[in-house]
């Protein structure tokens, strides 16, 4: 047996022994029957649909969409401000980015979610912002904006200075240079981290369950958790997990595919 083949055989051996050991421990300690009954009841699983999709998936995607679009707006403003000639504008943007990245998303959701009503108590708050859509969407947009601002700034800085110099020496104005030369290149650099942020955001929508559970506005996890306590069975959580995987995994692969395509064109 060659040295290489022996090394591979040993690795397989370690894997088999390890798997066997962990499997044996789990098999003898875990109450498989109870676990299966609590999490994998087919009748309970079926009963979650179609509500879990028509309300849960739809709302999860809607919250993500609001938060991502809002976040992108905040991020573009913050990234522009951080490059501003006006020093206080830079401070303000930096403060926003640093503070929101320092806070747990859950705390931001609670602060904004309960804060809006009190802050604007002298006014009639428009319906959208009275709902979880507005309150939760805004909170998540603020969080996402802080992270995305950093990604966008990094993307803009990653475009070599020579690109700007070449464009300006051809007579392009600074705005034309930004729009035609720098932005398109920065965008390509920024797409992977932004889609990553999209996936993170999609999962963070689950935190919105702390803002209440009005029927109609519930996202996946809220629905699943309510169904769990109503039916004394945890299978709804499994159903929510399946839904998340069904959205997130294809998205991740789509991003990889888009990345590979843009790379092929520029190389």
């Amino acid at each position: 047996m060659s040295k290489r083949a022996r090394s591979i055989a040993i690795q397989w051996g370690i894997f088999a022994v390890g798997l066997g050991a962990v499997g044996a421990v789990l098999y003898s300690t875990v109450s498989w029957a109870k676990l299966g009954d609590a999490y994998f009841r087919w009748d309970v699983f079926k009963a979650q649909f179609p509500v879990m999709i028509t309300e849960g998936v739809v709302n999860t995607l809607f919250y993500t969409f609001i938060a991502f679009t809002g976040g992108l707006v905040f991020a573009l403003i913050a990234a522009t401000m951080r490059q501003s000639q006006v020093v206080p504008a830079r401070w303000l943007a930096t403060t926003y980015v640093e503070v929101l990245r320092a806070l747990p998303a859950l705390l931001t959701i609670l602060l904004v979610g309960y804060g809006i009503k009190i802050a604007f108590s002298d006014y009639e708050i428009p319906g959208f912002f009275n709902q979880n859509y507005g309150k939760g969407g805004l909170a998540l947009a603020l969080v996402a904006g802080a992270y995305m601002a950093e990604s966008i700034r990094a993307g803009l800085q990653a475009v070599p200075k020579g690109q700007t110099e070449a464009a300006r020496s051809l007579g392009l104005s600074s705005r034309q240079t930004l729009r035609r030369i720098v932005m398109p290149q920065a965008l390509r650099i920024v797409v992977p981290p932004l889609t990553n942020e999209f996936v993170l955001l999609l999962k963070d929508t689950s935190l919105l369950y702390v803002l209440g559970v009005t029927v109609g506005e519930r996202e996946l996890v809220t629905i699943a958790n309510q169904a769990r306590s109503a039916s004394f069975n945890s299978t709804p959580l499994t159903a929510a997990a399946v839904c998340f995987i069904a959205i997130t995994l294809p998205l991740t692969y789509l991003v990889k595919w888009v990345e590979r395509r843009t790379e092929m064109r520029t190389r």
């Binding site: 070599p160 020579g162 070449a166 020496s169 051809l170 007579g171």
Partner: protein, 262 residues
Amino acid sequence: MSEASTTDTTTHGTVAAAIEICDLHKSFGTTEVLSGIDFRVDRQEVVCVIGPSGSGKSTLLRCVNRLEEATSGRILIDGINICDPDVDLDPIRRQIGMVFQQFNLFPHLSVLKNVTLAQTLVLGRHAEAARTYALVQLDKVGMSNKVDAYPGQLSGGQQQRVAIARALAMDPEIMLFDEATSALDPELVGDVLAVMRDLASDCMTMMVVTHEMGFARRVADRVVFMADGHVVEEGIPVQLLESPREARTQQFLQQVLRPMED
């Protein structure tokens, strides 16, 4: 923009030089890179600037279209002082073509688009006219068979020739070359130098920062030697390269012309 107010009469009478630089100083922080440069390029003249690295020759070139801001002094392009903060730079920059050491083609645009973009955006040419003119320029540099390629698919020499075509498509009055062949593999240098030589014989006004002594000798009308932020010596190529007066010039030329004998 009132051009009359910024037009100076030069020391050489009514006809302004293409480039005239008077007592130019440039510092990066506390380091002075250019210490009082006087320099002139006449119309249709080819001037090569040589000197050791760190001598300030690239900085001088980059001051000419204000990619670097001069600390003090005057730079006149066709008689217009571009150091004047009120001067509108974009129309002046479009008369000055620049070729960089690192090519700086736009990687997200095809070769053709690289050459047409500024024509349509800056000169307002129609897409079809810009395309036709781009093909003329690309043909001049021998790159008309690569119009649909992206810069990443080209060799360094090909990229640099496209970059020259891109600058020429703007019909510049002056061309600046910032060590245009320094980043190229040795076997690709010749093609780019040939394009530059053709350009010189077409009577283009050229300021060329270079390490190619052979090019300077054959193509330049005048060679300027710089060291430590000063113009040490200048003259016609034969005189400066073969019988330099200054010790500093002699020392430099010995180093670059016979590097193997040490």
